[in-house]
Symmetry: C2
Subunit: 149 residues, 2 copies
DNA sequence: GTTAATGCAAAGCATTTGCACACGT
DNA sequence: ACGTGTGCAAATGCTTTGCATTAAC
């Protein structure tokens, strides 16, 4: 298991390389947002990240966080995850992995150790789409919500 | 394969039963929204449904469509699907099935005929969650978007 | 008659955009 | 210097809420 510290440093390296290769400036805003995202495992929304980052980087604006996240996704160093909520959530883990979302409170967590990493069909053309990747979304009840009816 | 007509009628029956069992009134708004949802396969958002329904039911308000959708989900006759967009989309098909979302334009379609319906793990307790159901989300490129780089 | 749903309008979040200025390369 | 990013504030989009009225059972 990779420590959070190592993971954050790895992501910053990825970002530096991606910026260099695409001729984009490596700004402190981009670094800080990615570092904050890499440091959490709860798949935060843009606003939640802004709340965390605004203390570390005086004067950063909400709009910048939104723009930076879009850029990070485009550069392939972060991803936008699917949830059933009406807002975007982000994840610095770009490899294939799976999620559970609590049907009651909406909390999202990663799921490991399930044999779900070999589901890509032979024929990647299905229903007109060219399939590129996938993720399994479980719904369930989290510890807190299991007790309440 | 079930015709769209049959499917819509089946959903209306489900709704009638669910309302009766829960002591809720069966309103024309609920019927019309569910019927509209059942008639499409593109997983519309609340606003898209409102656009369709406002012609059929004079005077229905946007807020009602939002409230009705919430009720339909709670009654188990519709579901909110997961996408990477910042708005909710809905589906009248409540059985287990899977989706592809175009990574470029966001279009969502159902995926059939893939052997993905037996992925529920033996142990339904994972990472503190009690797993209830799942759906596989593929990302890919739709026909239209495959051509453009 | 009772209880809950609807319509309207306003409020509340989430996200995007235009523009002047500042910054990374 | 150049091109892009950022901050600010306003605009836009999506969703929820309060309240008086209407409708379903």
């Amino acid at each position: 298991m990779k420590t959070s510290q190592e993971f954050r440093q790895q992501k910053i390296s990825e970002l530096a390389r991606a910026c260099r290769e695409n001729g984009l400036p490596l700004t402190p805003q981009r670094q800080t947002v990615l570092e904050a995202l890499a440091g959490r495992s709860d798949h935060p929304s843009a606003d939640e990240l802004f709340d965390e980052v605004k203390d570390r980087l005086r004067g950063i604006s909400r709009a910048t966080v939104y723009r930076v996240l879009e850029t990070l996704v485009r550069l392939g160093v972060a991803r936008r995850i699917s949830t059933s909520e009406a807002r975007a959530r982000f994840d610095a883990h770009c490899g294939r992995h799976h999620h559970v979302q609590c049907a009651r409170c909406g909390k999202v967590e990663d799921l490991h150790d399930l044999p779900l990493d070999d589901l890509m069909p032979e024929n990647t053309f299905q229903g007109g789409f060219r399939l590129l990747d996938y993720s399994v979304q479980f719904s369930g009840l989290c510890t807190d919500c299991q007790d309440r009816p």
